[in-house]
């Protein structure tokens, strides 16, 4: 369901910890302006129907409808200078700009 490197997993956990949030994020669709929705992460807790992935203490959630739409999602941190920004790429692209822009974890 999710591809995430151990380093990037640690980064996500650290960001959540800095904000005093539980170690749990949801993959969701965001519409961030004219035309192109994208995938992003929000700090959230699990719902009954969610698909759940656990990695080194981090819980990653995705709704089944979304999973059916986009497939497996890869998450990577942009780089050290933008450690709080992530690029999410899905097996079935949401749109042509997939992989271009980064987003932050919404709390």
């Amino acid at each position: 369901m999710i591809k995430l490197s151990p380093n990037d997993c640690t980064t996500i956990k650290s960001i959540l910890s800095e904000k005093g949030l539980p170690c749990s994020v949801r993959i969701e669709i965001r519409s961030t302006g004219c035309c192109d929705a994208s995938l992003g992460m929000t700090a959230d807790t699990a719902e009954e129907s969610d698909l759940i992935a656990e990695m080194d203490g981090l819980t990653i959630l995705m709704g089944p409808v979304l999973y059916a739409l986009v497939g497996e999602v890869s998450i990577r941190c942009v780089d050290d200078s933008r450690r709080d920004e992530f690029i999410l790429v899905s097996e079935k692209p949401l749109n042509e700009w997939q992989g271009f822009a980064a987003s932050r974890i919404r709390s």
Partner: protein, 888 residues
């Protein structure tokens, strides 16, 4: 099935790697066409084609008029393709045919013609800068607006044809070359427009269209060194990334991003109209419009009725296949978009908003497949909810109540976006008051989605940067270059060069601009009425002071003016102030005055000058404190001096006290110089001996300083020297016998000549010090000048030795046997001797200046701009303090 190719360098070509993709009709999921898919190599080819075409000048160096002719052809060609464009757009992007059929004409051809015509006839490609705002050096300055270069236009899928028109049209009209990347789900209309460009002979490389995945092409388009500007319409997230990438090579970026616009329905709105208009604002093109009114704020008084009626209206919207003319609302662009919209609807329910209607995908009868979604209404929404803050980009609206107009504005502004918005009301003034307070790029009152070629469009806050359309949008496609041509191509005539990088501070250049007509002699006062007529005036404000009125002199002038005089302003203090000018200006405006006659000393004349410029240029006096800004003549001004004097009757300066700033402000404008000066000796005969001495020393200081500043020259030297002689010879006579008309006239002439001299050569440190004690301690200007003059002359002795020695000769000093320095010092001694002879005060303390105030005076004097013209550069306030102490 049709196959569309890339358009690069004037040719339709397949992608270098042969890749293609298929585009689908979102109304029925059927494939429409295959399209070549551009890769990085194709992007490189397109950018370089644009670069070559731009640099060659084949388009960029045509005149705007020549480009306009080609753009008119382009527009006409678009018109011939109207039907094809409309149907293709509907099938590709899901737009209803009722809209897409008007797009090629309304938003394409018409826009091309409108903006091309504007660029040809009205756009300010070159503009003279009449007032440069640099008072130190002279020259001609003008600006040129030039094309930017290679522009990349990245187009979204909601209005691909309109966006292609905007980005191609504006770039080309302004002489640029363009590379367009249409959205991959809607590439066709841009390629048809490219066909039109080729048909009409737009030169190869000027227009290039490369559909391909943004994720792959985005980086090269935004970072390529040959790209000069990026115009992007799309998501905020992608826009942010583009801005970051473009910053690496500092490209110009225009972004048109998302919105969450508020449509405000006031309690006095026409309800039928409010329902229909706000539904249009939300559901037009299935809500896939960046500036859609997706938050409807309804005043509490009408909220329940509005929600109820809006629900019925939304449910009556006919969803159907987009090519049917009976369809109100077509499909969303893709199934992914349906999923996104539906995700937000589920979120809205989860957040506790009340789903009033809709909220689900729809199957259209008779159509298999398709991306349809029901018009959806949420009520009971809080503005903090995600469905109220995030752009859904579908047919979903959040309706919220509000109490006061102020609350509506606060809710509207509580968004990271600021793209559009509306107000619905029967009270236009009320609607405009609200519209002005909403921080957004466009506000529609009793309308929505209304655009025009000359109406700028763009966003505040995270809705974007820059504007499209109108002259504002066109300017975004140009660069500004300023060209300066020095009036004096000589380093030794350049103030800044000599002041900063030369040991010799003298300026070689001089400019003689003495436009004042002078009527001088006994009885010349009678000429005033004729001068009013010659200046085109008929309603004169006579400006004077209480002393002149009391002495009966003002009455003489009024009688000469006869019916021309419509008012008298006589409340002018010894040192005029901003407030005095404003009061006089107000009187002049009320009386509809077209000419000013001033009768008095320097303060009266300076007040009148300031009134002339304020009357002409508007505002208050403080708006018109300027140096070299005026480009047109002021209100006509005739001066009748009653002192001899400030020389203000022929100078282009006015000195006005600014109490708030605690210093004197200067208006220094060549167009401030009075038109006529009337030197009638009878006007100065009532001046008491002490004032005669004080005002004459003002004139003496003008003459001496004009002779010794860094801008001294042969013409002003002659006037200054003769003025010095006239004062020396006639002041003692006039002090002893005030009724001696010859002496009075000679002193008046000396004052005028000294005034002309310093208009050319300026004044210096003695005046800086005099201004200061006048401002801070009320020392009358003439006396202040006289007190400082000999001390400053001695201070300058080694930097103006020759001229000071000449002054000694003019003062009648026998310099035989003296070296020049001795003669220069003798000049200062002779000035002091004259002052004693005529009873001029010799110490600053006589005017009540406190000794502990001298330090502050020296700081202020240092900052007076005239000190810059002193022949000896002033090293610091300590030197000035020493001079103040000498005269104390």
């Amino acid at each position: 099935m049709d196959h569309y190719k890339l358009f690069i360098d004037g040719k339709f070509v397949d992608a270098k790697d042969g890749k293609t993709f298929t585009t689908y009709d979102p109304g029925n999921d059927q494939p429409i066409a295959t399209v070549a898919q551009a890769g990085i190599a194709d992007a490189e080819a397109a950018i370089m084609a644009a670069r070559r075409s731009f640099d060659s000048g084949v388009w960029s160096r045509l005149t705007p008029a020549a480009r306009a002719q080609k753009m008119y052809d382009f527009a006409d060609q678009i018109n011939t393709q109207t039907l094809r464009l409309a149907v293709t757009e509907s099938m590709d992007a899901g737009q209803t045919i009722n809209f897409s059929k008007v797009t090629p004409l309304g938003f394409g051809a018409n826009m091309f013609k409108d903006l091309s015509n504007y660029a040809s006839f009205k756009f300010p490609w070159e503009e003279e800068i009449k007032a440069q705002g640099n008072p130190f050096d002279y020259g001609r300055d003008y600006i040129r607006r030039e094309p930017i270069g290679v522009c990349v236009g990245i187009i979204p899928w909601n209005f691909p044809m309109v966006m292609a028109f905007w980005k191609i049209g504006q770039a080309l009209i302004m002489g640029n070359s363009v590379v367009i990347k249409p959205a991959s789900v809607t590439p066709l209309s841009a390629l048809i427009i490219a066909e039109c460009a080729k048909t009409v002979g737009i030169p190869d490389g000027v227009v290039n269209v490369i559909p391909g995945p943004g994720g792959e092409l985005g980086k090269i388009l935004c970072t390529h060194k040959e790209v000069d500007k990026i115009s992007f319409t799309g998501s905020t997230e992608v826009g942010r990334e583009i801005m970051q990438m473009a910053s690496g090579t500092v490209k110009r970026v225009t972004l048109e991003l998302g919105g969450k616009s508020a449509n405000i329905v006031l309690d006095d709105a026409d309800m039928d109209h409010a329902i229909a208009c706000s539904a249009f604002g939300t559901y037009f093109h299935a809500g896939q419009v960046c500036e859609s009114g997706t938050r409807i704020l309804v005043q509490k008084k009408i909220y329940n009725e509005f929600v109820d009626r809006f629900k019925k209206h939304a449910e009556a919207i006919r969803i159907g296949y987009q090519l049917l003319p009976t369809t109100h609302m077509g499909p969303l662009v893709s199934h992914q978009q349906v999923a996104t919209v539906d995700g937000y609807v589920q979120l809205g329910k989860k957040e506790g908003a009340e789903l009033i209607t809709g909220g689900k995908p729809v199957q259209v009868e008779g159509i298999e497949g398709g991306c349809y979604y029901a018009p959806t209404v949420f009520a009971g929404v809080k503005n903090s909810m995600r469905i109220a803050q995030e752009e859904i980009f579908g047919p979903v609206v959040a309706i919220m109540p509000f109490g006061s107009d102020e609350e509506a504005v606060a809710i509207a502004n509580d968004s990271i976006f600021g793209l559009g918005g509306g107000v619905l009301s029967c009270n236009t003034a009320r609607a405009e008051r609200i519209a002005r307070q909403v921080r957004t790029g466009t506000m529609w009152i009793n309308n929505y989605h209304y655009f025009g070629s000359f109406c700028p469009f763009g966003g505040y806050k995270q809705s974007g940067v820059g504007r499209e359309l109108s002259n504002t949008g066109l300017e975004e496609y140009t660069q500004v270059k300023r060209i300066h041509i020095a009036s004096f191509a000589d380093a030794s005539s350049n103030y800044t060069m000599t002041a900063t990088m030369s040991d010799n501070k003298s300026l070689k250049k001089y400019i003689i601009n003495l436009p004042t007509k002078i009527n001088a002699g006994h009885g010349s006062l009678a000429s005033v009425a004729k001068e009013v007529v010659d200046l085109g005036g008929s309603r004169v404000l006579l400006m004077t002071d209480g002393g002149i009125v009391k002495a009966g002199v003002a009455k003489l002038v009024q009688d000469c003016l006869s019916d021309f005089c419509v008012g008298v302003f006589d409340n002018i203090p010894q040192d005029t102030e901003l407030e005095t000018v404003d009061a006089a200006t107000e009187m002049a405006r009320k009386l509809n005055v077209d000419c000013i006659v001033s009768c008095g000393g320097g303060s009266v004349i300076d007040t009148a000058k300031a009134v002339c410029t304020t009357l002409k240029n508007g505002g208050c006096c403080n708006d018109n404190i300027s140096w070299g800004r005026l480009t047109e003549p002021s209100v006509p001004h005739i001066v009748i001096p009653t002192t001899a004097g400030t020389g203000s009757e022929v100078t282009w300066a006015a000195v006005i006290k600014n109490k708030v700033a605690g210093r004197k402000s200067y208006i220094i404008e060549s167009r401030l110089t009075p038109n006529v000066a009337i030197l009638d000796p009878r006007m100065t005969m009532t001046l008491p001996p002490k004032l005669t001495a004080g005002t004459a020393m003002d004139a003496m200081t003008h003459a001496v300083e004009a002779l010794t500043t860094i801008t001294t020259n042969p013409i002003s030297d002659g006037q200054a020297l003769h003025a010095i002689r006239l004062i020396k010879e006639n002041l003692p006579i006039a002090v002893k016998d005030g009724k001696n008309e010859t002496a009075r006239l000679n002193l008046a002439a000396a004052s005028t000549m000294a005034g002309q001299a310093f208009t050319i050569s300026f004044v210096a440190l003695a005046h800086a010090m005099a201004h200061t004690v006048g401002m801070l301690h009320g020392v009358p200007h003439g006396f202040a000048c006289g007190l400082m003059l000999p001390k400053v002359m001695r201070y300058n002795v080694d930097h103006a030795t020759d001229k000071l020695a000449l002054i000694a000769l003019q003062m009648g000093v026998n310099t035989f046997g003296m070296d020049k320095r001795e003669a220069a010092l003798a000049a200062a001694d002779e000035i002091e001797k004259l002052m004693k002879e005529v009873g001029h005060p010799l110490q600053l303390r006589e005017f009540g200046v406190p000794e502990d105030g001298l330090e502050a005076c020296s700081m202020h004097a240092m900052q007076d701009p005239v000190s810059l013209y002193n022949p000896r550069p002033v090293a610091g306030p300590a030197e000035i303090l020493e001079l103040f102490r000498q005269v104390y």
